[in-house]
């Protein structure tokens, strides 16, 4: 009996935790951290520049010089030049942190290299799915002997576009806006089929498939409800930044009639040095030119003032953008999900689920609700069963209670679930008599983090009127430890 109760409690806990994870894993607005946004943008744009020029150097030799000069040109690099000038001598200090090594890394391949599984992959279907994963059309994850592939039609179209299968793709047609709201998943159980333990991708191994449609997604930054905020932002922040960028361009461009001779001389020498450099050392040359030599160029007080203003405007732009994205992160999501579970011995099930996620009180809390019902795809012959197997309602409210010194952010969670079983529960040996009826489960949980360790201690009290198999009330206290492996590994390998 204890084992049954424990299992049910674990299932409940898993359900509640999984809904919580959906909420807490939503992308958050950009964090400003301690690094000014202007420095962050300079690093990002400089890394991108180095990556592009290394790619040009490793490409065809025919137009190498032309392409190098085009890429390293004031027409596209005013932001980089202005932010390097604004940083002054401190720019050299972060040259080491510019990650030019990453350009040599292979992109892709990681998803297929999970390696920790003992499953063997065979056949053409896994190869096709693997190809889709490699090219960003699908993602995969392995749990036990189950491999799940997730994707959405827009991701597939984009992946095909990036491979040159589709010439041009724009994500703003009405059709793609609708497609963007759909996603699907296929789960294969490699323990099934004629070769258990080997993933063959055959239909017999397909254990479930699901389809999702976002009825409302206010966590999409381009949702119409944010149009006014973006419009104001682009007008006030974007246009000022562009205006000052245009003024700065003239100081670097000889044809403007207003150029600064020192900046023009630096630019020509830098461009020549980059053209002459090899792919192996061009990253260091670019960093030397932009982060060391450019900030040392003597410029007029007008230029000095302008670059300082420009850097401040980049910071203001970044803050304005982060403010809007903070609203977006608190937006409401309403999703419909259909899952077809294909069982080996029992009838297949269709589960229809409506999921709502919201952040009430200006994001001070997180609310998740589920409403679902399950039907039998087919009633077993001779069984006197209702086609409707059950319906469920569940809700969870997470309220951060604030920072506690030496502990961290404590979260209070209140959750409840109601389920109505239409018929007695089916077991492999037959029906469990008198198990139909209502099940109510409630949980109050306090999650205490161990500050800076990636470890959390959830303490909860769960109460229910009965379990799925036994009509008996229970109240149970749970105490556990959870590990955030990402957080722990990031400390081991910063």
């Amino acid at each position: 009996m204890f084992g049954t109760k424990l299992t049910t409690a674990l299932v409940v806990a898993t359900l509640l935790f999984s809904t919580a994870a959906d909420v807490w894993c939503q992308p958050q607005a950009a964090s400003s951290g301690t690094q000014p946004a202007s420095t962050k943008q300079l690093k990002i744009k400089l890394e991108d520049l180095i990556k592009d020029i290394v790619a040009i150097k490793n490409g065809p030799a025919a137009t190498l010089e032309t392409r190098t000069r085009s890429r390293f040109d004031s027409t596209t690099l005013v932001t980089v030049f202005a932010l390097a000038l604004a940083a002054g001598p401190t720019a050299a200090s972060f040259a080491q942190s510019i990650d030019d090594a990453r350009v040599d890394k292979q992109v892709g391949g990681g998803a297929s290299n999970s390696g920790s599984t003992s499953l063997v992959t065979k056949g053409s279907v896994p190869a096709i799915l693997g190809f889709a994963v490699e090219n960003g059309a699908l993602s995969s994850d392995t749990s036990g002997t189950t491999i799940t592939f997730r994707g959405n039609p827009v991701g597939i179209i984009k992946a095909l576009g990036s491979r040159g299968f589709i010439k041009s793709y724009s994500d703003d047609t009405q059709f793609t806006r609708v497609l963007r709201r759909t996603s699907f998943a296929l789960s294969f159980d490699a323990g099934r089929g004629p070769q258990p333990g080997t993933f063959t991708g055959e239909v017999s191994q397909l254990s479930s498939y699901s389809f999702r449609f976002d009825i409302l997604n206010k966590r999409d930054p381009r949702h119409p409800s944010y149009a006014a905020q973006w419009s104001k932002f682009v007008l006030e922040r974007g246009q000022t930044l562009l205006t000052n960028g245009q003024l700065l361009l003239d100081y670097f461009d000889e044809s403007s009639g207003k150029s600064d001779p020192n900046l023009v001389a630096w630019f020509k020498a830098a461009q020549d040095a980059i053209v002459a450099a090899s792919a192996a050392n061009v990253g260091d040359i670019i960093k030397q030119e932009v982060l060391v030599k450019l900030p040392a160029v003597k410029v007029s007080p007008e230029v000095s003032a302008l670059v300082s203003t420009y850097a401040n405007e980049v910071n203001a732009y970044s803050q304005g953008r982060a403010d809007i994205l903070a609203s977006v992160a608190n937006g409401t999501i309403l999703t419909f999900e259909y899952t077809n579970t294909r069982n080996v011995n029992d009838p297949d099930l269709s589960i229809f689920n409506l999921i709502i996620e919201a952040s009430p009180w200006s994001g001070k809390a997180s609310l998740t609700g589920n409403a679902s019902f399950t039907i039998l795809n087919k009633i077993p012959s001779g069984a006197n069963l209702d086609r409707l197997r059950n319906y469920q309602l569940s809700g969870q409210l997470d309220v951060p209670l604030g920072e506690v010194q030496k502990i961290g952010s404590v979260v209070l969670t209140v959750a409840a679930r109601f389920e109505h079983l239409m018929d007695d529960t089916m077991m492999p040996g037959g029906m469990m008599m008198d198990t139909r009826g209502n099940i109510g489960v409630g949980q109050v949980k306090l999650t205490l983090p161990v500050k800076g360790s990636g470890i959390k201690i959830p303490i909860s009290v769960t109460f229910a009127n009965r379990t799925e198999l036994i009509k008996e009330k229970f109240v149970r206290g749970n105490f556990g430890v959870t590990f955030d492996l990402d957080s722990i590994f990031s400390r081991l390998n910063p």
């Binding site: 000069r69 974007g238 930044l241 562009l242 205006t243 245009q246």
Partner: protein
């Protein structure tokens, strides 16, 4: 219109030629694009990405363009510039680097001597 030195943002036009710049296609960019012709006027200002920008080239002129990214990755765009006297068609493409918040670039139009 002629592309100078293989750079699609440096363009040489015939005197009086009207150039048109447009977002040809895009992924994950804001609907509003910042544009600015040189000079004291802040024109044309933020414009919907489906609306082309035109201007007559009778002297050296610059057109600033700023693409704004609402998400932290996955953005890209292709810009096209054409002249009403024919000649080259300029295409400038860029992909958002991870964490990049905006892309600012400038067309420099000069008049052929």
């Amino acid at each position: 219109m002629k592309i100078v030195g293989g750079n699609p943002l440096r363009l040489e036009c015939e005197a009086g030629e009207t150039v048109t710049v447009r977002v040809l296609n895009s992924i994950k960019i804001l609907d509003l694009v910042n544009y600015k012709w040189d000079g004291p006027d802040n024109l044309p200002g933020p414009t919907h990405k489906d609306t082309p920008i035109s201007g007559a080239i009778d002297r050296r002129r610059t057109l600033g363009v700023q693409i704004n990214y609402p998400e932290d990755s996955g953005g890209s765009f292709t810009m096209q510039a054409t002249g009403d006297h024919g000649g080259d068609v300029s295409t400038h493409q860029d992909e958002q680097a991870d964490g990049e918040e905006f892309s600012q670039f400038f067309y420099i139009f000069t008049v052929a001597q």
